[in-house]
C-alpha cells in the first residue's frame, strides 16, 4: 500500500506500541521518527540496536517510556545527550531500559522474523548484562550439554525502515549495508517503509534485496527521509549534522526549542528540510 507518511503513522503507530525504527547507520528512518513526534505518540517502547539521533529526539520529546538497545551513542561524536539525561536524570520522565549486545539483538530480530519465540547465541556469558537484563537467559544444548545464551524474539508492533526504492505495487528494494532492515520488517506485526523513489519497475542492482509488497505494510515516498543518515546510491551521511546535534541536544531548552520549531512547527518532512536548511 503506497500512502503518505502522515497517513501511515496515523494508521499504524498507536500510543503504547512497541516500535523498531531500524538502520545500522545506513537507511535510518528519520522522517518517520519526526512524524511520530509530530503526531504526539506517547508511551512508546522503542527498540533499536543503535539508537542514535532520531531516538534521542523521540526520547527528549517525551514519546518514549522504554528503550531496548545495544549501543546508544552518537557515532563518531560521543554521547546521546537526551538519552543520557533520561537515564541519569529522568528527564523528561523515567526511561526504562532493556540492554543487550548487538549479537543478542540481531539474534532476537532473526528469531522474530522466523516466527520463533527465542534465539540462541554464544554470548553474554561472563558479562554483567544478564544480571540487569531479565530477557537474557540460557538454554542447554540437548545434544552436547553446552549452555548457550537465549534471548526472546523481537516482535515489534511496527517495524519502520528507510529503503532506496519501491515499485508501484509496493515491492521494496534495498542495497548497500543491509543491517537488520529485512528482519525488522519481517519481525513486526505492521511495517512502514519510506523510500527515495517509486518506479515502474525495479532494476536489478548487485547486492540488492527485495521485500515483496505483501510482506510490507505501508510504503511512503519520502526522498531524503533517512537524513542525516543516508541511502546508498542517493545520498551520503551528513556527518556535520551529527556533530551539530551534540550542541543542540546538550541543553534541554535548546533541544525543546529545536523540536518545537523544526518538528512540531512543520507540517511534514519537506517543510522540516526547509526549516533546518538541508537540501535532500
Amino acid at each position: 500500500m503506497i500512502t503518505s507518511l502522515r497517513a501511515a503513522v496515523y494508521e499504524f503507530v498507536h500510543d503504547g506500541d512497541t516500535l523498531a525504527l531500524e538502520g545500522f547507520t545506513h537507511l535510518i528512518p528519520h522522517a518517520a521518527g519526526h512524524e511520530i513526534i509530530r503526531q504526539g505518540r506517547r508511551d512508546l517502547h522503542v527498540v533499536r540496536m543503535t539508537p542514535d539521533v532520531v531516538y534521542d529526539q523521540l526520547i527528549g520529546a517525551g514519546c518514549v517510556t522504554k528503550l531496548t538497545f545495544s549501543w546508544g551513542g552518537n557515532p563518531g561524536v560521543g554521547s546521546l545527550q537526551r538519552f543520557r539525561d533520561a537515564v541519569e536524570n529522568q528527564w523528561p520522565h523515567t526511561l526504562e531500559i532493556e540492554e543487550h549486545s548487538h549479537a543478542g539483538m540481531a539474534t532476537g530480530y532473526a528469531a522474530g522474523a522466523a516466527g520463533l519465540p527465542f534465539g540462541i547465541l554464544r554470548g553474554y556469558i561472563g558479562t554483567d548484562l544478564p544480571k540487569h537484563t531479565s530477557t537474557i537467559k540460557t538454554v542447554e544444548c540437548p545434544f552436547t550439554g553446552e549452555v548457550l545464551a537465549a534471548v526472546p524474539a523481537i516482535t515489534p508492533d511496527v517495524g519502520i525502515i528507510h529503503g532506496q526504492r519501491a515499485d508501484r505495487s509496493g515491492n521494496v528494494q534495498i542495497w548497500g549495508l543491509l543491517g537488520v532492515q529485512k528482519e525488522a520488517v519481517l519481525a513486526s506485526a505492521r511495517s512502514i517503509v519510506t523510500v527515495e523513489e517509486i518506479v515502474d519497475e525495479l532494476p536489478e542492482i548487485p547486492g540488492a534485496i527485495v521485500l515483496p509488497s505483501w510482506a510490507v505494510g505501508a510504503v511512503c515516498h519520502v526522498p531524503g527521509g533517512a537524513h542525516p543518515s543516508f541511502a546508498m546510491g542517493f545520498s551520503v551521511r551528513d556527518n556535520a549534522f551529527y556533530k551539530a546535534w551534540d550542541a543542540i541536544s546538550k541543553d534541554r531548552d535548546a533541544f525543546t526549542a529545536w523540536i518545537d520549531k523544526h518538528i512540531l512547527g512543520t507540517a511534514d518532512f519537506s517543510e522540516y528540510c526547509e526549516s533546518v536548511g538541508i537540501d535532500v
Binding site: 549486545s101 556469558i125 558479562t127 543491517g179
Partner: protein, 253 residues
C-alpha cells in the same frame, strides 16, 4: 624523528601488531570505527600481507581508499568483497570463529582485562551513562585474540570495572575455560604509555613494553592497581617516518 601524538603512537603500535599477525596468517580483523579502523587501514598500507578488514555493519574484506567516518560509511560497502546482513556477520562470521583478532576499547579496563563501556557508578543510578555493549561482548567471547587500545589513566585502568560489559579473563585464570568461551581473549593492551599483556600464569595484565621516553613510575601512576612489569621489559620502537607519513596521508585523504 618527527613528533607524534599519543593517538598516533597507539595506532602505529597496533598496526605493527596487525602486520605481524597477518604475516602469521592471522589476517581477519573485526574492526570498529576510530583507532582500530585507522590502525587496520594503516597496516593494509604498510605490510605486504594485508589484514582483512571486517566491519560489524556487515562488510567483509573492505578496502577503503579513505578512512571511514562511521561504521556505516558507504565506502566500506562499495569496496568490500562481500556485504552481509548484521545477523549474518555476528552469527556466521564472528561467532563461528572466523575472526583472528578483534578490537575493544572502553571507559574502564581492569587488571584481568575485563572492559566496561556501560556505566560509571551503579547500573540503576549511573554517574555516567555510556553507550553500552555494541558488539563487544561477543567479540570478547569469540575472536581468536583481542587487542585493546585505550589511553591510560588511573581512572580508566581500575582494579575492578564498575560494570563488566565484555569479559577478558573474568576473575582470573581459568574463567574463560569455565565459561566455555572459544576465543582467546585479550592478548595486547596498547596504551599511550605502554603495552600490556596478560601474565601466562595469572592472566593479570602486566607491562611488557614502555613507549619511548616513558618510565615505570608514569605507568604505575596511570594504573589503578599495583601493576607489575616483566623482567625483560622492552621499549617500543619510535614511530618511523614511513609509519607516520603513511598514517597522516591516510588521515588526510
Amino acid at each position: 624523528m618527527s613528533e607524534y601524538t599519543a593517538d598516533e603512537l597507539m595506532i602505529v603500535n597496533a598496526a605493527r601488531q596487525l602486520g605481524a599477525l597477518a604475516a602469521a596468517a592471522k589476517r581477519q580483523c573485526f574492526v570498529g570505527i576510530g583507532l582500530p579502523s585507522t590502525a587496520a587501514n594503516l597496516a593494509r598500507r604498510l605490510y605486504p600481507i594485508e589484514p582483512v578488514l571486517i566491519y560489524e555493519s556487515g562488510c567483509i574484506g573492505s578496502k577503503p581508499t579513505r578512512l571511514p567516518l562511521s561504521i556505516g560509511d558507504g565506502e566500506l560497502a562499495e569496496t568490500s568483497d562481500a556485504v552481509v546482513s548484521v545477523p549474518e556477520i555476528f552469527a556466521y562470521w564472528l561467532q563461528a570463529g572466523r575472526i583472528d583478532v578483534g578490537f575493544l576499547s572502553g571507559a574502564q579496563i581492569d587488571k584481568y582485562a575485563n572492559i566496561n563501556s556501560t556505566v560509571i557508578g551503579s547500573y540503576e543510578s549511573p554517574k555516567t551513562r555510556l553507550p553500552g555493549a555494541g558488539g563487544a561482548p561477543e567479540i570478547a567471547a569469540s575472536a581468536g585474540a583481542v587487542m585493546v587500545i585505550m589511553r591510560q589513566s588511573a581512572r580508566a585502568f581500575v582494579e575492578r570495572c564498575d560494570f563488566r560489559t565484555s569479559i577478558g579473563f573474568g576473575d582470573g585464570k581459568g574463567d574463560r575455560e569455565r565459561f566455555g568461551l572459544r576465543g582467546g581473549g585479550p592478548r595486547w593492551v596498547i596504551t599511550d604509555l605502554a603495552v600490556m599483556e596478560p601474565d601466562p600464569d595469572t592472566c593479570e595484565l602486566v607491562v611488557v613494553a614502555l613507549h619511548p621516553g616513558v618510565n615505570r613510575d608514569q605507568v604505575a601512576a596511570a594504573t589503578g592497581w599495583a601493576v607489575r612489569f616483566v623482567d625483560d621489559l622492552a621499549t617500543t620502537n619510535e614511530p618511523t617516518a614511513v609509519e607516520l607519513d603513511t598514517l597522516r596521508a591516510l588521515q588526510a585523504a
